[in-house]
């Protein structure tokens, strides 16, 4: 046999297939994989994803599509960041088109120096950058009911993780000189409904910032372009988008979206108000509802964990319906209040398996079961569900949610 060297990519592909013990690629298959003889697309000014990639946000049909939410396809995400184009949305009166050259932020009320800032003023100031999750207070609202949502997108997809850049709010408040006696900040957006939320001044002076950047570019319009209040670890709605007003007051204003909505009704008929914090949570994204495990063999179980109160310390996985738990490997670095990816090799032996994850954060808080949540809060509190999500992998590999 003459010694032969691969002379083309086609040869290399054939050799690769042979070396791996696989069957030889047919001439036709090899051709399909080969470099076509025509030029590809030219350079472009702003990138698009491959036409073969189909992951999209999901939303319910509605007669008023300007209010509602669209869910991030967590089942399709890899790593820990959400592309801005797939970040979940929750708007109450549509996405405004705002010219940043005309947008101003006004800080007023109980301040000595009512301040008006242009976007250029804001961008001139020292900036801060943080990679952080943002989660809707109503994420996983579907999970309170006995019939839970069928897949990870519709059950956990109102959470996304971005790198946010902006200006420290304490810096601007110092500039406006907050008067003694002020204890709340009323934030207002420039959208049609002028979304309004009351924020404790203590939070504003702690770690709040005003974001103009997301994932290396300006915020997307759907995320509040040109300016958004970012309150680390707090529910999405309080992170007011299209921010144009911060009014310092000595009382919360009991806005519609902190009384009628985003309050948590308990079984005794009382509702918890100002429940902004998002507690530790995790979910397996593969295998998850709607997916199919192709057949017996070794797979990587993977998913996402996060906590509004800090770093994820531990994620445990069960494959026997909660009887035994094994620590998953956590992707480093584990940033506080950011998506943390977890992974665990798993052998699917072709027998039904009921799988779930549970996260522990740096405060020692352990993600509870749905039953534990329901025992305390009943099933009508709508918001802040952070229970475990169980998936059933059937013997044939089909994955579905578990009815409770």
């Amino acid at each position: 046999m003459k010694p032969s060297f691969p002379t083309s990519r086609r040869d290399i592909l054939r050799m690769g297939a042979a070396a791996m013990g696989g069957t030889l690629l047919s001439e036709q298959e090899a051709l399909a994989l080969d470099t076509p003889g025509t030029l590809g697309a030219p350079l472009g000014p702003y990138g698009d994803r491959s036409p073969f990639e189909k992951a999209v946000r999901w939303r319910r049909e509605s007669k008023t599509p300007e209010t509602g939410s669209s869910f991030t396809p967590l089942q399709d995400s890899v790593g820990t960041l959400t592309p801005s184009s797939l970040h979940y949305e929750r708007h109450h009166s549509g996405i405004p088109t705002i010219d940043p050259a005309r947008h101003r932020l006004v800080i007023h009320g109980m301040v000595d120096r009512p301040l008006s800032l242009s976007m250029a003023d804001i961008r001139r100031l020292p900036s801060v950058t943080r990679t952080m999750v943002l989660e809707c207070g109503g994420n996983s609202a579907s999970e309170w009911a006995a019939t839970t949502a069928p897949d990870v997108q519709r059950s956990f997809g109102l959470a996304s993780c971005s790198e946010w850049t902006g200006v420290s709010l304490p810096l601007l408040l110092a500039e406006a000189r907050v008067r003694p006696g002020a204890s709340w900040v009323i934030a207002e957006g420039a959208d049609a409904c002028r979304m309004e939320r009351s924020i404790p001044l203590a939070k504003a002076l702690d770690d709040a910032f005003l974001a103009y950047g997301q994932n290396g570019e300006a915020l997307r319009p759907a995320q509040g372009y040109p300016l958004r209040l970012r309150l680390p670890g707090w529910e999405g709605n309080a992170n007011v988008k299209w921010l144009h007003s911060l009014k310092l007051t000595d009382q919360p204003y009991m806005a519609r979206d902190e009384t009628s909505k985003y309050s948590d009704l308990m079984p005794d008929g009382k509702a918890r108000i100002f429940s902004y914090r998002m507690e530790a949570k995790s979910v397996i994204t593969f295998p998850s509802g709607g997916q199919t495990v192709p057949g017996p063999g070794v797979y990587e179980l993977t998913g996402l964990a996060w906590s509004g109160l800090g770093r994820i310390e531990r994620v445990e996985i069960t494959t026997d319906g909660g009887k035994t738990w094994t620590n998953a490997k956590l992707q480093e670095p584990r940033l506080p209040i950011a998506f943390t990816r977890f992974r665990l090799p798993w052998r699917f032996d072709g027998r039904e398996a009921v799988i779930a994850s549970r996260a522990t954060d740096e405060t020692g808080y352990l993600q509870p079961s749905r039953e534990a949540l329901v025992a305390v809060r009943g099933t009508n509190s709508v918001y802040h569900f952070n229970g475990m999500k169980f998936w059933r992998v059937r013997a044939d590999g089909a994955v579905s949610n578990v009815e409770v």
Partner: protein, 177 residues
């Protein structure tokens, strides 16, 4: 410049560098009217239940139903006494703690497809009509900056502080941030 910024904690300096400018009264007026539960921020003007009934038929019933029973938009009445049951029905009448919120919200957000359309007397009228629908004020009541904050909503005392962490081992001992 860089060395200076490195050495001096900026937050401690005020003014920073005179960033921005003093907000003008016109600018502040151009923002949404934020109404406090004590009525702070309520403008002049007044509205009656009768005026509100007419206005509701023109601007609101298309989405909320002729009697406010709900359609495209949520129901605006009913549900009193249901909050502690298995099927709570949360509405302005059964759930909202303050009547001032109704003024604040209708003024900023309704009608849904034309927010900002209503003048203050019209907002007072819409508020009066919805409160009357819920049996909270009488047919002859007039709503204005002094009467509205005095309206006691049925669920005024229905809200409590967030007591989380409330579930799981070790929950009670965890420090609240």
């Amino acid at each position: 410049m860089v060395a200076l910024w490195g050495a001096v904690p900026l937050a401690a300096q005020s003014p920073l560098s005179g960033v921005g400018r003093t907000a003008t009264p016109e600018e502040i007026r151009g923002l949404g009217l934020a109404i406090g539960p004590d009525g702070s921020g309520l403008p002049e003007g007044s509205g009656t239940v009768a005026a509100g009934r007419e206005l509701f038929a023109t601007h609101c019933s298309r989405c909320h139903g002729p009697k406010g029973e709900g359609e495209v938009g949520p129901a605006l009445l009913g549900g009193q006494g249901t909050l502690a049951t298995a099927k709570p029905f949360k509405t302005v009448g059964s759930f909202w703690p303050y009547a001032t919120t109704l003024w604040d919200y209708i003024n900023r957000a309704m009608p849904f497809d034309k927010p900002g359309l209503l003048k203050p007397p019209e907002v007072y009228a819409a508020v009066a009509f919805i409160l009357n629908l819920n049996g909270i004020i009488g047919d002859g009541a007039v709503m204005d900056a002094s009467s509205l904050p005095k309206v006691k909503m049925p669920n005024r005392d229905g809200f409590v502080a967030d007591t989380r962490p409330d579930v799981g081992p070790g929950a009670p001992s965890r420090p609240q941030p």
